[in-house]
């Protein structure tokens, strides 16, 4: 057992913290008001190398292990969740497919530009009738000559308006369905027949844009099949399972920030002649926030470590996504409560975290689906 974090990773965390607390923080209100990330922040994130976290060094990335990625994403989690989502959706579900399942040609073609952040990756599985029930997707892909022709609509696609490279799951054999009938494709935004719908108006995650991706006889070269034809559903599950632990890490980072804000505010806010931090009601909330976060943190590290060891994490990945996102929602709720009326005002960042936290229980697999996976795996273990 060794809980020691390598010096190099601590140095990286220090840089990310400085970037978040200084540069991103300075634009935090602007991001909220304009629903747009100032380009200089994205440039700086590129320079720092944040977009290449999960891409191997030979393709220009940092080649970090899952545990190392999670340690960095935790630090990034302090920032506006819209900004973090922009980077994390690329690092996670947006590029994992090519990294883990791509042919050498696909890797060489796409990864260097994705690693530098010059190009942005996105993942397109969800459809209007296929959210939690991802097996119900309708988008089709038919092979014609040396091209696959895609037709259909993907919706709620994070980063769609800005993305350059999509990992798309489509039906290639209706009869077989999810069991051998889905295939994953790498689709560039400029391929003929691809268009982006209008940007959704969301409750939060300002700065991160979500939209439909529409395929109308969209032509995809044959070599852009990701993995094997017919293995698309397994690929999607694999991509999502990698994303889960990284999402947990971001939740922990947001909790860290909320605890910091709340502990400071509680010592400054005076009521009944004393700082509210001296009241047990507030202390209990702070203690619960910190304890639950600590549990989520070490659970996240543990699952990330399991991924690095090549151990199966179907159950644990679902557990950590479910647990960390629920912890974040409880922590955000208490943070608002500690801030009282001010917690409800847009002047204070806790209001933003409270809205943004809500999506973590929904996206990248709802927490209900995570519970189903956990129970299914558990019942398998003790099958009678």
């Amino acid at each position: 057992m060794d809980f020691h974090i390598p010096e190099e990773i601590l140095d990286m965390k220090r840089t990310i913290r400085a970037f978040i607390d200084k540069d991103v923080e300075a634009c935090s209100r602007q991001i909220e008001e304009e629903d747009r990330i100032p380009p200089h922040l994205i440039d700086k994130a590129r320079e720092l190398g944040l977009f290449g976290m999960s891409i191997p060094e030979e393709y220009g990335g940092l080649g970090l292990s899952m545990l190392e990625r999670c340690l960095l994403l935790e630090e990034l989690g302090r920032a506006n969740m819209g900004f973090v989502t922009y980077i994390a959706a690329h690092v996670g579900i947006g590029t994992t497919g090519i990294v883990e399942l791509g042919s050498e040609e696909l890797k060489k073609k796409y990864l260097p530009a994705l690693a530098s952040g010059e190009k942005l990756g996105a993942f397109a599985l969800t459809e209007p009738d296929a959210g939690s029930d991802a097996t119900n997707i309708k988008t089709t892909a038919v092979l014609k000559g040396d091209k696959w022709i895609l037709n259909g609509r993907k919706h709620f696609i994070t980063n769609a308006p800005e993305a350059d490279v999509f990992t798309v799951i489509a039906v290639t054999d209706r009869e077989k369905g999810a069991r051998g009938g889905f295939t994953a494709f790498i689709v560039e935004k400029d391929f003929p027949g691809l268009s982006i719908g209008t940007i959704e108006k969301k409750m939060g995650l300002r700065g991160s844009h979500t939209a439909e991706v529409i395929f109308e006889n969209c032509e995809v070269p044959r070599e852009n099949v990701l993995g094997e034809v017919g293995r698309g559903y397994a690929s999607a599950l694999r991509i999502l399972s990698r994303g889960r632990v990284m999402l947990a890490a971001r939740c922990v980072g947001a909790c860290n920030k909320l605890i910091e804000l709340s502990a400071r505010y509680a010592q400054q806010r005076v009521q009944f002649g004393k700082p509210i931090a001296s009241f047990q009601a507030i202390q209990w909330m702070l203690a619960e926030m910190a304890t639950e976060t600590e549990a989520a943190r070490w659970f996240t590290y543990r699952v990330a470590w399991m991924v690095d060891q090549g151990l199966p994490v179907i159950k644990e990945g679902a557990m950590v996504k479910f647990f960390a996102s629920e912890v974040l929602n409880r922590v955000a709720d208490k943070a608002v409560q500690i801030h009282g009326g001010m917690g409800y005002m847009k002047e204070f960042p806790v209001e933003r975290f409270y809205r943004d936290a809500r999506i973590t229980r929904i996206y990248e697999g709802t927490n209900e689906i995570q519970r189903m996976i956990i129970a299914r795996e558990l019942l398998k273990e003790f099958e009678v």
């Binding site: 190099e8 140095d11 320079e47 940092l62």
Partner: protein, 257 residues
Amino acid sequence: MKIVVLPKQTFDTEAKITLDAAGKINREGVNLIMNPYDEFAVEEALRLKEKHGGEVTVVSFGGPKVPDILRQALAMGADKAVHVGDEGLEEIDEHTTATILAKLLRDLEYDLILAGWRAIDDGSAQVAGRVAEILGLPMVNMVIKLDIAEGKAVASREIEGGYEVVEVPLPAVITAQKGLNEPRYPTMKGIMQAKKKPMQKLTIADLGLGGEEVAPKVRARRYYLPSPRSQGKIITGEPAEAAAELVRLLREEAKVV
């Protein structure tokens, strides 16, 4: 062009200063950073290297955590680092530090020495000046713009009511003032590469120094914390009355007018 930068490790600007049982500044649990003025110096060295080619060496004297700031400079893009440890030195002053750094610099090749104009901890602004003096080099202090050409440095510095532009032959010592540049962050790749770059560890004995040569000339007799700021007073009422009350208080209580 060979540039040497002399960064110092200092307390974080947000560190809470306390005194220990012996009445000395408590270093326990304090976050340590590169002195912000030295970050400007490192950044300037890297920009000059990017423009003119060459090599940047960072040299720092101090305790066991100093490699942290040297690694930061290497991650930002410096080429090599030297850490002179403070083992065996109970007390030091600016004379100690300058003597040690100057001794080391005699063995290094350089065209330019850069440092922050002062450190944010003791704020003495002496070490770079003393190093220049010992080495017999020209020095320009508190520089906000620096150009190097044909063996000369042209440096701008802020003076009362304007700017002064100074030209000095190289090698020279230049100290950085806020405004010189905006220091870069070390990139993730830079951090990964930093650990592969050479970092030399020396002791004072390795430099052939010891005893009286490095003994401090100045000794702090006592440290004490500033007295806590007393509560302000808010004067309420109509503006005219409040102003009159303010004047009365300034005259009678504060006795400043």
